[in-house]
């Protein structure tokens, strides 16, 4: 099965524009993690900070453009992986190893389709 691992962390610790020294450290960890995953990693990307987010909202058929993320939360979507895993337990085992700088969450979502 294919799973998306959505990485949520409070991105304020990474400094303005996610350019502080912590981000270098975290990128290094993610590169090592990607290497370790090998062929199980089908894709993935880190995201620019939530301050760079723009949302297009559709309500009653009308589309409007807004500054900011879909929802204001304490932890923000900071990146994602697409992985191949035999089942949920393997996906959980991979998710446990996703590097974080601090407290955070990895949401595991099975991908639709084959």
């Amino acid at each position: 099965m294919k799973y998306a691992l959505l990485v949520y962390e409070d991105d304020s610790v990474f400094g303005a524009d996610k350019a502080g020294p912590k981000i270098q450290e975290l990128v290094g960890k993610h590169m090592a993690f990607s290497q370790e995953m090998g062929a199980k990693r089908l894709g993935g990307q880190g995201l620019k900070p939530v301050t760079a987010a723009t949302t297009v909202r559709t309500a009653g058929g009308k589309k409007t453009v807004h500054d900011g993320p879909f929802a204001e939360t304490k932890e923000q979507l900071g990146g994602f992986y697409l992985v191949e895993a035999a089942d949920l337990d393997e996906a959980i085992a991979i998710a446990r190893k996703v590097p974080l700088m601090q407290d955070g969450s990895i949401e595991i979502r099975p991908v639709m389709g084959p």
Binding site: Y3, D87, I92
Partner: protein, 408 residues
């Protein structure tokens, strides 16, 4: 062969067959539907042709064919090739032998209690799929609407299928974590059965299933002390069921119960499980709780002194492992007997757990302590608070009697 007899046969076979089908086809809903359909066919076929020698094997073979047909139809409809049922392996070939259905119930329990399944659905799902209880019975036991419970079960089954919860037993390094979820799920399920002292209606069968299921776990996971402690715990508690209510249906507190009415067979069985639990997991909250139960069940008659000092000692030890309001409250009951109600009252007045105001045992214990300390008016108020929480009938009668004695 009447309906009730058939129902007993179906229920006895259900967990094992659904588990075997689920393991083979990796689809819970399919396993459950195929089993129901095979029961319907048995209801038509058996009264005419007589019950087969091995009804479970008959039900399993028919359910297996129904499941295979359903899968074939699904493939034609979706023109999909990804849904081919797994090739039968050596184990499956043995299943075709009319006397052998592999016991996959442990796998099924682990699926039902997977951490990805909502905690409030785990116990219900286990009781439905592994124990064969009906949604009506489970809804009654958990005091929820049947429609709400049915939805909860459907959501849980969808989650298991969509999220890809594995149908394999977890690898050994996951066991401690995963077994804990299984044991606490069973604990919740049993607590539901135990709450109602009179044990009438759905609860009776429900508690019986717990005896069976906890024994099964000890056979399947013979090195897990927690499983043995739970098996002992459930037996000690069930052993006392005949003595828990009087002829008028009023609850009788543990220390007032007549040990002659307790079931010696279950107490002996429990003792065996507890010996293993003590060897495998000497320092664990569950083992201590089983030891607490045993302290009571060793009593032969009401003439023997109640084991309060030993109970207090065991609660002191339990407190170092599990410090919560329930343990502190139970410890206070023993403390009142050893050091007097005043000391116990001081202990429980310090409790500041959220939700305590809605917790029936808190008010019941507090009322009793206040009564014994001679604080009549406070005691009356506490009894009324307890009764306002709508206790089960046996306990309600007891609290009403105590309140009546105070006001008389």
């Amino acid at each position: 062969m009447n309906g009730a007899a058939l129902d007993r046969v179906f229920r006895a076979a259900s967990g094992r067959i659904i588990a075997a089908l689920a393991a083979r086809f990796r689809d819970l809903a399919l396993a459950e539907d195929a089993f129901s359909e095979s029961c319907l066919r048995a209801m038509r076929a058996w009264p005419e042709r007589g019950m087969p020698d091995d009804p479970a094997a008959w039900l399993y073979r028919v359910a297996e064919r129904i499941a295979l047909d359903a899968l074939r139809r699904r493939q034609v409809r979706e023109q999909a090739i990804c849904d081919v049922p797994p090739e039968p392996n050596a184990e499956d070939t043995m299943m075709d032998d009319s006397h052998f259905i592999p016991d996959e119930r442990l796998r099924l329990i682990f699926i039902c209690c997977h951490p990805a399944v909502a905690p409030e659905a785990r116990a219900a799902l286990t009781l439905r799929l592994v124990c064969g209880l009906t949604t009506t019975e489970i809804a009654r036991a958990f005091l929820v609407q049947e429609t709400a419970l049915a939805q909860r079960l459907v959501r849980a089954k969808h989650k298991i299928a969509d999220a890809g919860v594995p149908f394999e037993l977890p690898p050994p390094h996951f066991w401690s974590e995963r077994l804990e979820a299984v044991l606490s799920t069973l604990e919740i399920a049993y607590a539901k059965a135990h709450e109602d002292a009179s044990g009438t209606g759905a609860h009776a069968g429900f508690a019986g299933e717990m005896l069976h299921l906890t024994k099964l776990l000890t056979e399947l996971v013979p090195n897990a002390g927690g499983a043995f402690a739970l098996a002992a715990l459930v037996r000690f508690a069930e052993a006392r069921r005949p003595a828990r209510v009087d002829n008028e249906g009023m609850m009788i507190p543990l220390s007032h119960q007549d040990p002659a009415l307790w079931r010696a067979d279950l107490i002996e069985e429990a003792g065996g499980f507890l010996r293993d639990a003590v060897t495998l997991a000497p320092v664990s909250a569950r083992t201590l709780q089983a030891l607490l139960q045993q302290a009571w069940c060793r009593r032969q008659s009401r003439d023997e002194p109640a084991p309060w000092a030993e109970v207090l000692l065991l609660y002191d030890r339990l407190l170092t492992l599990r410090d919560d309001a329930v343990v502190r409250l139970n410890r206070a009951v023993a403390l009142a007997e050893v050091e007097g109600p005043g000391a116990a009252l001081r202990e429980i007045e310090q409790l500041a757990t959220p939700g305590l105001a809605e917790f029936l045992p808190y008010h019941a214990v507090r009322a009793d302590l206040l009564r014994r300390a001679g604080r009549k008016q406070d005691a009356q108020a506490a009894y009324q608070q307890a009764l306002a929480l709508e206790p089960p009938s046996a306990e309600r009668r007891w609290l009403e009697r105590k309140l009546g004695e105070l006001t008389a």
